[in-house]
C-alpha cells in the first residue's frame, strides 16, 4: 500500500488499543524497524492488525549507513524479512552512524561532509538498495557540532549522495530547523539548495531549546513536544514548493494522548490544504 500525500504519526504501543478500537482517520503510521525485530509477541500482533487497516512506512534507526566500517549483514537481512512481512510503502534510514566495532551506540551520530564520507555512504546505500531490492529514503540529520574537515554544505552533500545512488529522500523539516539554528545556517536557503525533487516523505517533531558554552542557541532534537511555530513556517514553505507530501509527526518521549497526537497530524494536513506559495510564506516570515 503506497503512503498517501497526507499526515501520519509514529505508532506507539501506548496507542495500539485506542487506534484499533476507534479506527481514526489518519493517512498512515510509521514504526521504527528495530522495535519489531523481536521473534514474536504483542508488538507484532498489534502491528499486523493495524497494518490491515492503514498504510505503513518503515523507519530504520540502526543500520549505521554513515559508518566507516561495513554494513551489518544480519541487520540488513532482518530488515529484508520485516519488509517482506509488513510490505511498507516506504523504507527510510538516516544520514548518520551508530555502530562502531562491536558496540551499538544507540544514537544518530554526525558525519563529516567529505569526499571520503560521500563515497562510503553512496556505496552503503547502493548495497542497501541492492539487498532490499527497493529504493530507500535517506533522512537529513539534526546536528550539534560541525566537523572542521567538511568540504560540502549539507544540502549539497545530500544532493550528491542522491544523484549517485538514486535513493529517495526523507526531508526532516525539524532537523533542518534544528541544524540550521545550531550551525547558524539560513533554513530557507537550505531548502532552496536541497534536491526537493527526490523528497517522498517529510518528518516533523518537537525540540528542546538549550544554549552552548558561548550562550548560542543549541536546539536538541528530543521528539518530546509539539512542533515549533518556526518549524511550521518552514514546513509551509516546503509544502508551497512541493505540494501535499506524506508528512509524519514524530513524538517519541513524554508521549501525549492519542487525541493530542492526532490533532498535531491534522495541523500538518491543514497546511497541505492551505496552498500558500513559497513567496507568501517568505513574506509572512519577514512581515
Amino acid at each position: 500500500m503506497n503512503i498517501p500525500p497526507r499526515a501520519g504519526v509514529g505508532l506507539k504501543p501506548q496507542h495500539y488499543r485506542e487506534i484499533l478500537e476507534t479506527a481514526p482517520d489518519i493517512g498512515f503510521f510509521e514504526v521504527h524497524a528495530e522495535n519489531y525485530m523481536g521473534a514474536g509477541g504483542p508488538p507484532h500482533r498489534y502491528l499486523a492488525a493495524i497494518r490491515e487497516l492503514y498504510p505503513l512506512s518503515l523507519h530504520g534507526v540502526g543500520l549505521s549507513i554513515g559508518a566507516a566500517g561495513p554494513l551489518d549483514q544480519d541487520h540488513l537481512r532482518r530488515l529484508k524479512d520485516l519488509i517482506a512481512r509488513y510490505q511498507p510503502g516506504l523504507f527510510s534510514e538516516h544520514l548518520a552512524w551508530s555502530s562502531h566495532g562491536e558496540a551499538f551506540l544507540n544514537d544518530l551520530l554526525p558525519v563529516p561532509y567529505t569526499k571520503e564520507t560521500l563515497q562510503r555512504i553512496a556505496s552503503h546505500i547502493d548495497h542497501v538498495q541492492e539487498t532490499l531490492g527497493r529504493q530507500m529514503l535517506l533522512e537529513n540529520p539534526s546536528t550539534y557540532v560541525a566537523f572542521a574537515e567538511s568540504t560540502y554544505a549539507e544540502p549539497e552533500f545530500i544532493a550528491e549522495v542522491q544523484r549517485r545512488t538514486g535513493c529517495g529522500l526523507l526531508l526532516d523539516v525539524s532537523n533542518v530547523h534544528v541544524a540550521s539554528t545550531n550551525q547558524q545556517w539560513d533554513p530557507f536557503a537550505y531548502i532552496d539548495a536541497y534536491p526537493l525533487g527526490a523528497v517522498q516523505e517529510i518528518h516533523l517533531a518537537g525540540f528542546t531549546p538549550e544554549t552552548d558554552e558561548k550562550q548560542r542557541p543549541l536546539l536538541i532534537d528530543t521528539h518530546n513536544r509539539t512542533v515549533d511555530p518556526l518549524v511550521w513556517q518552514l514546513y509551509a514553505y516546503v509544502i508551497g514548493k512541493l505540494g501535499p507530501t506524506s508528512t509524519l509527526i514524530e513524538w517519541d518521549a513524554d508521549l501525549p494522548s492519542w487525541g493530542e497526537l492526532h490533532a498535531e497530524a491534522m495541523r500538518a494536513e491543514a497546511h497541505m490544504k492551505s496552498h500558500a506559495t513559497p513567496q507568501e510564506v517568505r513574506l509572512a516570515r519577514t512581515g
Binding site: 509477541g41 555502530s99 558496540a103 551506540l105 551520530l109 550539534y144
Partner: protein, 264 residues
C-alpha cells in the same frame, strides 16, 4: 587530516568515557571547539541507554529510587554498551551486574528481582506458539509416558531465588502495594511464560525448576522427575505436570527412538 574510521574511533571512545577530552575538530558555528555541543551526544547515548534499562527494569527502578538507579545503570551502560541495534534485548547482563554492585549489597534479593524482570521481557518478545492442551497429551500412549520428551514453549523462563523475590517483584510493579517482607522467608521460584497475548508469572514449588530445566535439555519425563526428586522428596510429578500443562508450558512431544527400547 583524519580519515573517517579514525574519526569515528575517537568519537566513539569519547562518547563512552566522560574523562576523555572532546575529539579535536568538532566545532561550533565560529569554527572553534565546543565541548558543550559534543556533550549533547554523550548525554544522548548514556541517558538513552539508561532510559532503556529503566523501561526494562521498572521494579528495580522503583525499589532503589531514581537517583541510585541512574548511577547504577550509568556504570552498566558505559561498561556494557549494546552489541546489537535491536534494543529490545538490551540489558541481559544487568541482573549479574546488580549482584556484584557493592552499594546495593544490603538488598541481596535485588538481582533475583531483576532476573524476573529480564525473564518477563524475554517472554514478551519470544516467538509465538500454541501450547498443547491436556487432551493433546492424553493422546500419548500412557505406558510410554515416562519416556516422552516434551518441547517447552519458546517464551518459557524459570527463575530461582533464595529470597521471596517474586513477592517483592509483585509489590513493585504497576499496581503493586509495597509492604514489609521477611527476606528470611521461603525461597521463591517462578515460571514466566507468554502462552498467548499476555505474559503470565506463576510461583512454582521446589523441584519444579529442576524438572523444567531437565525437560528443556531434552531429557525424558522420568529423568526430569528424578532431577526434581534430587531437589526435594516431596515432589509430586502429576500435580506439577498438570500445572505446567495448564500454564501452557508444552508445545510438542516426541518419543525418541532409543527410549522405545529402554526397559520400563
Amino acid at each position: 587530516m583524519q580519515g573517517l574510521a579514525d574519526r569515528q574511533q575517537d568519537f566513539a571512545m569519547a562518547l563512552l568515557d566522560a574523562a576523555r577530552a572532546t575529539p579535536p575538530g568538532l566545532v561550533g558555528p565560529d569554527g572553534l571547539p565546543s565541548p558543550r555541543r559534543f556533550a549533547v551526544y554523550r548525554n544522548n547515548v548514556v541517558a538513552g541507554l539508561i532510559e532503556t534499562l529503566k523501561e526494562n527494569y521498572p521494579a528495580i527502578h522503583r525499589i532503589v529510587g531514581d537517583e541510585l538507579f541512574r548511577a547504577m545503570a550509568g556504570l552498566f551502560v558505559t561498561a556494557h554498551p549494546p552489541r546489537s541495534p535491536i534494543m529490545l534485548g538490551y540489558g541481559a547482563g544487568f541482573p549479574d551486574f546488580i549482584a556484584g554492585f557493592e552499594p546495593v549489597a544490603t538488598l541481596p534479593y535485588l538481582a533475583d528481582v531483576a532476573r524476573i524482570e529480564r525473564a518477563w521481557i524475554e517472554a514478551y518478545h519470544a516467538a509465538d506458539a500454541g501450547p498443547l492442551s491436556a487432551a493433546d497429551l492424553l493422546a500419548i500412549d500412557q505406558d510410554r509416558l515416562a519416556q516422552v520428551r516434551l518441547a517447552l514453549h519458546p517464551s518459557l523462563r524459570v527463575t530461582q531465588s533464595r529470597f521471596p523475590a517474586l513477592t517483592i517483584w509483585r509489590m513493585n510493579i504497576a499496581d503493586g502495594e509495597p509492604a514489609s517482607v521477611d527476606i528470611g522467608a521461603d525461597c521463591e521460584d517462578a515460571l514466566i511464560i507468554r502462552p498467548s497475548a499476555e505474559v503470565r508469572v506463576h510461583q512454582i514449588p521446589m523441584g519444579a525448576a529442576a524438572l523444567v530445566r531437565s525437560l528443556g535439555a531434552g531429557r525424558p519425563v522420568v529423568a526430569a522427575a528424578i532431577a526434581a526428586l534430587e531437589v526435594t522428596v516431596h515432589f509430586d510429578l502429576s500435580t506439577m505436570l498438570a500445572g505446567l500443562i495448564e500454564a501452557g508450558a508444552f508445545i510438542g512431544w516426541s518419543l525418541a527412538p532409543e527410549a522405545r527400547n529402554e526397559p520400563s
